[in-house]
Symmetry: C2
C-alpha cells in the first residue's frame, strides 16, 4: 500500500456523541446548538474533530467536556456505536465520524461551551430534526442501548453508585417504553448472579412516598445470564 499517495486526501475524522440519561422518568439526550456553519443555529449531537495525537475515545471525552462543560464525567459509560462514512454526510468536506453512545446517571446541568452556543438535555422524543445525520445516530444509539439492556448489565450505567431496584426498573421501562411487573423484575434481577449486590446496612428512608427501598450497587458481572428479555410487542412467542 502506497501511503503517501493518500496522505493528501482531505479526510477529516470527527467524533459524535449520543449522550443519554434518564430525567423525570423520561429518556433525554444531550444536544448542543451549533454556533458555526454548516447548520449554524441547528441542534446537533456534541462532538468535534479528533486531534492528531489522540484516539477517538479520548477525543470523545475531551469534546464532551469542552462543549457541554460537564465537570463530573466519572460515571460516564462510553461505548463505540459505529462509524458513519457516507461521502455526502457533511456538505463541506469529507468527514468520517466515529459515533459513540454514552450513558450518564443523574444528569448534571450542562453549560454552553467552546464551539457550541448552548448545551441542553432534551427529551428523546422531542429531539427534533438534528444537523447532519445525527437523527440517525441518535436513533441507532437508542436501539443499541435498548438491545444491550437485555443481555448486559448496562442498565446500571444509568444509575448512581447506589440505587434501588425501582430505579433500575425505571431504566428498563424508560428505554424500552414498556411497563414491567415489579415483583417479577425484582426476582429476575436478584436471581442473576453478579448483576447487583446489596449495600451492607442501608435503606433509603426519607424522600420516597412508599416503603423505603433497599439500596444496591452494580455487581461484578458484565453480561446477564440468562438475559432479561423485553416483552413481546405482539404475537412473539416468548
Amino acid at each position: 500500500m502506497d501511503y503517501d499517495k493518500y496522505a493528501h486526501e482531505p479526510f477529516a475524522v470527527t467524533v459524535d456523541l449520543a449522550v443519554l440519561t434518564i430525567a423525570e422518568g423520561a429518556l433525554h439526550a444531550l444536544l448542543v446548538e451549533r454556533g458555526q456553519e454548516p447548520y449554524a443555529g441547528h441542534w446537533a449531537l456534541p462532538g468535534g474533530f479528533v486531534h492528531p495525537d489522540e484516539s477517538a475515545e479520548t477525543a470523545a471525552r475531551r469534546e464532551l467536556a469542552e462543549e457541554t462543560g460537564l465537570s463530573d464525567l466519572s460515571g460516564l459509560h462510553l461505548e463505540q456505536l459505529r462509524t458513519y462514512s457516507e461521502p455526502d454526510r457533511d456538505p463541506r468536506m469529507r468527514v468520517v465520524s466515529v459515533a459513540f453512545a454514552a450513558l450518564l446517571p443523574d444528569p448534571p446541568e450542562p453549560h454552553g461551551g467552546s464551539d457550541a452556543a448552548e448545551a441542553r438535555w432534551v427529551p428523546y422524543d422531542k429531539a427534533g430534526p438534528l444537523a447532519f445525520d445525527h437523527d440517525r445516530i441518535l436513533a441507532d444509539a437508542h436501539e443499541r442501548v435498548g438491545a444491550k439492556l437485555e443481555y448486559t448489565c448496562l442498565a446500571t450505567a444509568f444509575c448512581p453508585p447506589e440505587f434501588t431496584l425501582g430505579e433500575l426498573q425505571q431504566v428498563y421501562e424508560t428505554v424500552w417504553g414498556t411497563v414491567l411487573d415489579r415483583p417479577n423484575f425484582r426476582r429476575k434481577v436478584l436471581a442473576t448472579p453478579g448483576f447487583v449486590e446489596a449495600v451492607p446496612g442501608a435503606a433509603r428512608l426519607t424522600g420516597g412516598r412508599g416503603k423505603p427501598a433497599a439500596l444496591y450497587r452494580a455487581g461484578p458481572a458484565a453480561t446477564l445470564h440468562p438475559p432479561l428479555l423485553r416483552p413481546s410487542p405482539e404475537g412473539r412467542p416468548a
Copy 2:
C-alpha cells in the same frame, strides 16, 4: 467548528476485514501476505484505503474483491465491527481503520491480488501474529460473531442458501468451540419462528453417511426470540 483548520491533518482512513468461514469443521480466517512495507512479508487482514468518493462499506467490498480475487461476494455478510484509532497503531502515519466482520459460506479459493502477495484461508487458531493490531481485530470479530449467534440469525450467513440443521449446528459448535445436543438444538431452532423454513420438497440424499437430512433456508427473522444461549463453561446458572 473551523473545518479548514483541520483539512490538512494527515489522517488516512482505511478498512480492515476479518473474513470468517467454516471449512473442514474448523473456523478459518482470510489472510493476505503483505507486499509492501510496513510489515512486508507478514500476514494481515485484507483491507486498504477508503477512496474519497466511497463509504467504508463500499471500500470494504472493493478491497476484498481486489486483494483476494474472490468473485462470488453475493453471499457475503458484512458488518461493522468497530473503529480502531489509537495514534500509534500504524508506524508510518496516522491511520484510522474501520474494521468489519465478514461471514462467507462455502469458502471459495482466493487468489493473491493487487496489493497482496498472496491470499489464503488460515485456521483461526493458527492465524499467528498478524501485522498492526490485526490480532486484536480478528479476536474482536470472533467474540462479536460468537455473541451474535446467541440472539440473531447470523449463523445462516455461514451456510449456503440451502442447508441442513446439522450444518447449522456445526456453525454454532465451531464458532463457540462447544458440543451441542442434536435433538435439543433441532427443537430449539424449529421452535424459533422465522429462523429457518423447510425447502418444499427435498432431502439431501447422496454424500452423507447417515440418514438423509431435510434441507432448510434462512427465514425472514433477523433476531432470535428467545435467544439460543451458549452453554455455561462452568458454574454459570443458566
